[in-house]
């Protein structure tokens, strides 16, 4: 890209696809944490990270199409995340009460 075009691009703003690429990177980091981590609370936080990444792409598309629908989808995702956090953390509390561990490798009573 020649400097003239780059300067013109800077004047026009940030390309929408950069927001989408950032969303993809954040989602991948969330997937990595979901797979790598062994603490059930941290795994849960990585799910929240993935939801946030998807929200970012929803809002970028809303800006792209100049429509408010993307914001509403983000709003519903947040509501679902709140409900999920409430139920999921209650499940974590119950699991910890019964087994006294947070390590997902040790919670395997459904195996075999």
């Amino acid at each position: 890209m020649d400097p003239q075009a780059a300067l013109q691009m800077l004047h026009k703003g940030v390309p929408t696809s950069w927001y989408l690429a950032l969303s993809a990177v954040l989602f991948t980091i969330g997937v990595a944490g979901f797979i790598l981590r062994r603490n059930i609370i941290t795994v849960f936080m990585c799910i929240e990270l993935m939801l946030n990444a998807v929200n970012l792409s929803f809002i970028a598309f809303a800006h792209e199409h100049k429509q408010v629908s993307g914001h509403l989808f983000t709003f519903f995702v947040m509501v679902v995340a709140a409900a999920e956090a409430a139920v999921g953390l209650a499940i974590i509390l119950t699991v910890f009460k019964n087994r006294s561990t947070l390590n997902i490798d040790e919670i395997d009573s459904l195996k075999n």
């Binding site: 993809a24 946030n52 800006h63 995340a81």
Partner: protein
């Protein structure tokens, strides 16, 4: 200026996200996640989503993360101990993740044109339809049914949380 703010807060978001994955102690992970959410809130503001910014800060970074920190405190969760992983994960894990990120990023970058007259750009102030008024109008006309269903979902979530977390009565 748009580019500067985008790069700054995108860097903060990615750095905090990496910190979420790499930190050993859950409370550090939670605080890093709050940092990611705050940086994302600024990016939402650049995209013109004023109402969602406030919801993000109040509900996500506020309420949900407080719930997380509360549970970490209740369970007195310590740092997780490192465990040996299989050699497949050791060797192929990082390249596979990099490939996933590269593939997703490539498709995202080629999805919308970046140059030319049809190129799509984000400039602060381009889109002003993200205020509370527009959201409310759309929510109570076009999206009324999802909104009502959401209330049932929240009721079920409350009941589920109470049932799961209550003390067993004799």
């Amino acid at each position: 200026m748009d580019l500067f703010f985008f790069l700054l807060f995108a860097f903060i978001a990615v750095a905090c996200a990496v910190s979420v994955v790499l930190q050993k102690h859950p409370i550090s992970c939670a605080l890093s996640l709050v940092g990611t959410m705050a940086a994302l809130a600024v990016l939402y503001l650049l995209l013109g989503a004023e109402f969602i910014v406030m919801v993000q800060v109040i509900v996500y970074a506020g309420a949900i993360m407080v719930l997380f920190v509360f549970v970490i405190m209740l369970l007195n969760a310590g740092a997780e101990e490192g465990r040996g992983r299989s050699w497949v994960a050791r060797i192929a894990g990082l390249p596979a993740l990099a490939a996933l990120a590269g593939l997703l990023g490539y498709f995202m970058l080629t999805l919308l044109p970046m140059t030319g007259p049809k190129g799509s750009f984000v400039k602060f102030g381009d889109f002003t339809g993200g205020g509370a008024k527009e959201i409310g109008t759309a929510l109570f006309t076009e999206y009324l049914l999802p909104f009502e269903v959401t209330s049932i979902l929240i009721l079920i979530a409350i009941l589920g949380a109470i049932v799961l977390a209550r003390k067993e009565l004799d």
